[in-house]
């Protein structure tokens, strides 16, 4: 114990009160209310909430194969987007961190961040134009049109900066001397990459994947813009809440991504990647 008198516990408590209230009431409270609503139902005609405990919502989630299909599709897209982003981010981040001169490095960081200044919607609509039958990709003869492929391309584009930045930070932390030592010991470039670079930036990839994965899991707007008739988990939630006025079912289905992300974060925690955020 220090001999100097620190701030009194009362004052510390007072200082912490607003953020704790925010976390407890606004943040966890909203989640709790959502979870509670999942056990209610609605009056089919007037749309009023019927606050009687029922497991019907969860039962239809399990019984009806369409929800399993949609969940699987959403997970698949999230994994795919994450892999595409990881594959694209590695060379870019490596060049930025290890090859580029400091001036160019700064420019590249700005270039990577630049798309984040534009609205999400603008970028999604830009891709709607790109993927259109009369768009530039079609002109090159390679347009997949609106649908799953177009969706993966668009989401991978949207979330790419969130993958590049942590990987870039991870690579910067990797001392150049390690690469030199590996080369001095006779390792070819590929071996150095596989045994020195990859293991040390792996946690950075995991950190980036939290963004790409969770953002894809929850996305439903880009799906509406470039996904064609495709449905993802977020669309079902949004449609149930906004179209069908069925908050309880929307809440029940929202529990699925929450569970998936909790599981994912649990795995991530064990890799120690959270320290890289």
């Amino acid at each position: 114990m220090s001999t100097r008198s620190g701030p009194s516990p009362a004052r510390t408590g007072l200082l912490l009160l607003p953020p704790l209230l925010w976390l407890g009431v606004a943040y966890l409270g909203a989640l709790g209310a959502l979870f509670l609503a999942a056990f209610w139902t609605t009056n089919e005609f007037t749309g009023d909430l019927v606050k009687v405990f029922t497991l019907d919502n969860f039962r239809s989630l399990l019984d009806q194969p369409v929800y399993r299909t949609i969940t699987a599709r959403t997970l698949g897209v999230a994994v795919l987007v994450t892999l595409v982003d990881a594959a694209l981010a590695l060379p870019v981040a490596f060049f930025m961190a290890k090859v580029a001169r400091p001036g160019l490095q700064r420019l590249l960081v700005i270039a990577v961040l630049m798309p984040l200044w534009a609205s999400y919607l603008v970028k999604a609509y830009a891709w709607r134009g790109m993927l259109s039958k009369s768009g530039p990709l079609e002109w090159l003869g390679i347009s997949p049109g609106y649908g799953l492929t177009g969706l993966v391309i668009t989401l991978a584009y949207l979330w790419l900066p969130y993958m590049i930045l942590p990987v870039y930070a991870g690579l910067q932390k990797l001392p150049g001397s390690l690469l030199e030592a590996s080369a001095d010991l006779g390792a070819p470039a590929l071996t150095t990459f596989r045994r020195v670079v990859l293991p040390s930036v792996f946690p950075a990839f995991v950190a980036g994947s939290i963004f790409t994965f969770s953002l894809t899991m929850g996305d439903y707007i880009a799906v509406k813009i470039v996904g064609g008739p495709t449905q993802m988990l977020g669309n079902v939630v949004a449609d149930n809440y906004g179209v069908a006025n069925n908050l309880p079912f929307a809440a029940a289905y929202s529990v699925v991504p929450v569970l998936v992300m909790l599981g994912y974060l649990g795995v991530v925690r064990r890799t120690g990647a959270l320290e890289n955020l």
């Binding site: 009056n43 089919e44 949609i70 609106y146 064609g228 449905q231 449609d239 069908a244």
Partner: protein, 403 residues
């Protein structure tokens, strides 16, 4: 909650009788013979002093105050004439309208037929004393006392206008020209991947209407009254269609763009979207096939919790009157309910053909339409030996169709 179930049962009872007399075609008031008890919401007997404010809940484009386009403003003249300051909130779907009106923050709402009865049954809207509306007499008769805007011959609002979901196509691509909805439900369509249906569970009625004409053995008499088997059959039609869909649309701007770029070449659309595409000089045609179509008919209603009932009446009278009705129907692109609105559009907007384009006075055309109605478990076509599927069932089916 028990209370609400009684309402549902009661509503179901009136629907049985009302719709048996023709839900889309009959203008008769035979609903009066049923034992329906709409919740006891008091009706205004006379008008008092205006409160100086009115809160409007509307479909986009129904209450423009110049914010979107300074030249498009029919709310300000209303404010100047009545002294009622208007605040406008737009909603995107009928369901959103239903949940918003329940807050009690709004005085009036423009409700489509798939919302109106839910609002009446929920006690969310009040009966409207049409004697207090000077322009009510000018409303087209085939829009008055309909099963979706009245109970026991008691009107619940001021009709705004109506429109049809049209079979819309790109004449440069779709040849020969389609004549029937069959062309969007064809399993081997030459336009695979370029068909665009409307994105709402209510679209199931379009498939049911198609089955009603092509598969009479199924016994569908009303596309909003489907028993379990009939719904399954309609769902099958839509699941086949799913493989041919470019995208499901609910945002009209996106549909306009998809038609213009050629990503969609045939599907369901509305007249005003067609006009927008036409204005861009892109190839587009829309028809109402002989077998008819689904459509909407909107009615302005007054909230039972209205804090400004006198201004609410003033708004209904204005928006149903020749000027307000002309401006809103012209901007939105639908047939105006007021008979005098067509002349106003012809003189003010210099668009003499508008009402012809929208078949405003064409009752025969209006009768071909099956207006959006909420499906309920008591069959709307009068059958009593089966239970029909509800809107909740349709919503789940819609998710399954899109897969």
């Amino acid at each position: 909650m028990n209370h609400n179930w009684k309402l549902v049962a009661a509503t179901a009872a009136v629907l049985l009788t009302a719709v048996a007399c023709g839900s889309s075609s009959g203008g008769d008031k035979t609903a009066g013979s049923s034992g329906f008890k709409a919740p006891d919401v008091p009706m205004a007997k006379k008008l008092g002093t205006k409160e100086g404010a009115v809160s409007i809940l509307a479909w986009p484009g129904y209450a423009e105050d110049g914010t979107n386009d300074p030249k498009t403003d029919w709310v300000t003249p209303f404010e100047q004439a009545t002294g009622c300051q208007a605040t406008v909130k737009y909603f995107g779907t009928s369901d959103e309208a239903v949940s918003l009106i329940k807050t009690g923050d709004y005085d009036v709402v423009s409700a489509s037929g798939d919302a109106t009865l839910r609002l009446i049954a929920g006690g969310d809207v009040a009966p409207v004393n049409t004697d207090l509306l000077t322009h009510y007499a000018d409303i087209r008769s085939f829009l008055k006392d309909k099963p979706y805007n009245s109970v026991d011959g008691q009107m619940y609002g001021m009709p705004q206008g109506w429109g049809a979901n049209l079979l819309t196509y790109n004449p440069d691509v779709v040849k020969p020209a389609p004549t029937s909805w069959a062309s969007v439900f064809d399993a081997n369509s030459p336009y695979k991947g370029k068909i665009t249906p409307y994105d709402s569970p209510i679209y199931i009625a379009d498939a049911a209407l198609y089955l009603m004409n092509t598969n009479p053995d199924l016994g569908i008499k009303n596309p909003y009254a489907l028993d379990k088997h009939q719904l399954d059959m309609a769902v099958n039609v839509l699941k086949t269609q799913r493989g041919e869909v470019s995208e499901y649309w609910s945002d009209y701007l996106k549909q306009q763009q998809a038609f213009e770029s050629g990503d969609s070449v045939i599907g369901t659309s509305w007249q005003f979207i067609v006009n927008l595409i036409d204005a861009d000089k892109k190839p587009i045609k829309a028809i109402l096939p002989d077998e008819g179509s689904t459509g909407w008919s909107d009615t302005w209603m007054i909230s039972s919790k209205s804090k400004h009932p006198n201004c609410a009446y003033a708004w209904l009278d204005y928006i149903g009157g020749p000027d307000g009705n002309a401006a809103s129907a012209y901007y939105f692109g639908e047939a105006p309910a007021n008979t005098k609105a067509c002349d106003v559009i012809a003189t003010t907007d210099k668009d003499a053909s508008f009402c012809d384009t929208f078949h405003a006075g064409d009752e025969a055309y209006a009768k071909k339409l099956w207006y959006w109605t909420t499906p309920v478990s008591a069959c709307l076509d009068g059958r009593t030996n089966v239970k029909c599927t509800t809107y909740a069932d349709w919503t789940q089916a819609w998710t399954a169709i899109k897969g």
